[in-house]
């Protein structure tokens, strides 16, 4: 398995998923025209990664300034996948990074968090 690296564009975030460090980072703005298509490689990579993940701790880090509705649906699907893995005993936590001045991102982080069960989800205000 190789790391998944996708550079950011004006409307899509950078994706840096590294199985050697177990840190998975999504960073930037997310307004893809077709969110399902844009995130398909990331979802595929994540599925393979999660099935191979054992006891080591994995950190999924979101640092998303603005995102559209389709992106929020994709993120919920990702969080659901992570949630299911945590319920089956895996050690995964999510960090939602946002700038102190970006109230919108903080509020959205809280909305995501509210919807979750036992998946650790921490909002980190920078």
């Amino acid at each position: 398995m190789q790391a998944l690296i996708i550079e950011s564009t004006q409307s899509t975030p950078s994706i840096y998923f590294d199985q050697t460090t177990n840190v998975l980072i999504l960073k930037g703005e997310s307004f893809p025209e077709n969110a399902a298509k844009f995130y398909a490689p990331a979802m595929q990579w994540l599925r393979e990664y999660l099935s191979a993940l054992e006891t080591e701790e994995a950190i999924v880090q979101f640092e998303i300034v603005y995102f559209n509705s389709s992106t929020s649906k994709v993120f919920m699907t990702i969080l659901d996948m992570l949630q299911a893995e945590v319920e089956s005993g895996k050690n995964i936590s999510v960090l939602w990074l946002c700038d102190a001045e970006n109230e919108t991102a903080i509020e959205c982080g809280e909305e995501f968090k509210e919807d979750l069960g036992s998946l650790p989800f921490k909002i980190v205000v920078l």
């Binding site: 603005y66 509705s69 929020s72 919108t104 509020e107 959205c108 909305e111 509210e114």
Partner: protein, 236 residues
């Protein structure tokens, strides 16, 4: 409507009522039905969250777009409206004057010897001078219906809808008097060594036949006469 998802909630209630009736062909069917209902509830919860987040995002973007629109109308240095926005207002007032059959006035204001001022005291002092004069003009027109904008480097423009010559000249004199009170030391040793302005007044009743730029040209020519007549005065 109390909730935008009231139809979805109704579906859930109906499904729960149906489970109560126990009218299933088998226990497996009942189990499957319950699981589908749970999945539906979970997806509906997600949908609610998505809508809330989308509303937060859109409201933020809406505020930002409003702020940007406001910024795009303002001259960064003086805080007055800029020429782009002036043109927009000018066109609107021009149309309105044609419809109402009223006179439209403009005052073209130019700071005298501003290049010399900049060369003598530096551009930062020049900026300060522009800011002071902009503020002074703004204060002079507070109780009128005039609209003021920065037209160019050291030029300001006033637009007076539904006006007459007496009002225009009165306002021009008021602006000059107000500036005199400021006592800004100038670079030229005339007029007591103070910064002065010249004003050209344009006034006309626009019609469908007249061109939009005519009024500005009239004010420009009047300003030219004011400069030619020794500056520190207004001409109409």
């Amino acid at each position: 409507m109390e909730d935008i998802f009231e139809l979805e909630d109704k579906v859930i209630l109906e499904a729960e009522d149906y489970i109560e009736t126990k009218e299933f062909a088998s226990a497996e069917d009942e189990d499957r039905y319950e699981k589908l209902l749970q999945a539906y509830k979970r997806l509906l919860r997600q949908m609610r969250t998505m809508v809330r987040m989308s509303d937060i995002m859109q409201s933020k973007l809406n505020t930002m777009s409003g702020e940007l629109e406001k910024l795009s109308q303002i001259d960064g240095l003086t805080g007055l409206y800029n020429r782009r926005y002036f043109n927009e207002i000018y066109q609107k007032e021009w149309r309105k004057a044609i419809t109402d059959g009223t006179e439209l006035g403009t005052l073209m204001i130019d700071i005298d010897y501003f290049k010399v001022y900049n060369d003598t005291f530096g551009h930062l002092a020049g900026d300060l001078c522009l800011q002071k004069i902009a503020k002074s003009i703004e204060e002079s027109i507070l109780d009128s219906n005039a609209f003021v904008a920065r037209f160019g480097g050291e030029e300001f423009i006033l637009l007076l809808p539904n006006t007459n010559l007496a009002q225009c000249t009165g306002l021009a004199q008021k602006i000059m008097d107000q500036l005199t009170l400021l006592n800004i030391p100038g670079a030229i040793k005339t007029t007591d060594g103070k910064v002065t302005i010249s004003i050209g007044i344009g006034l006309m009743k626009p019609t469908e036949e007249t061109k939009l730029e005519t009024l500005i040209n009239i004010a420009d020519q009047a300003l030219y006469r004011a400069k030619k007549d020794g500056r520190n005065c207004w001409r109409a």
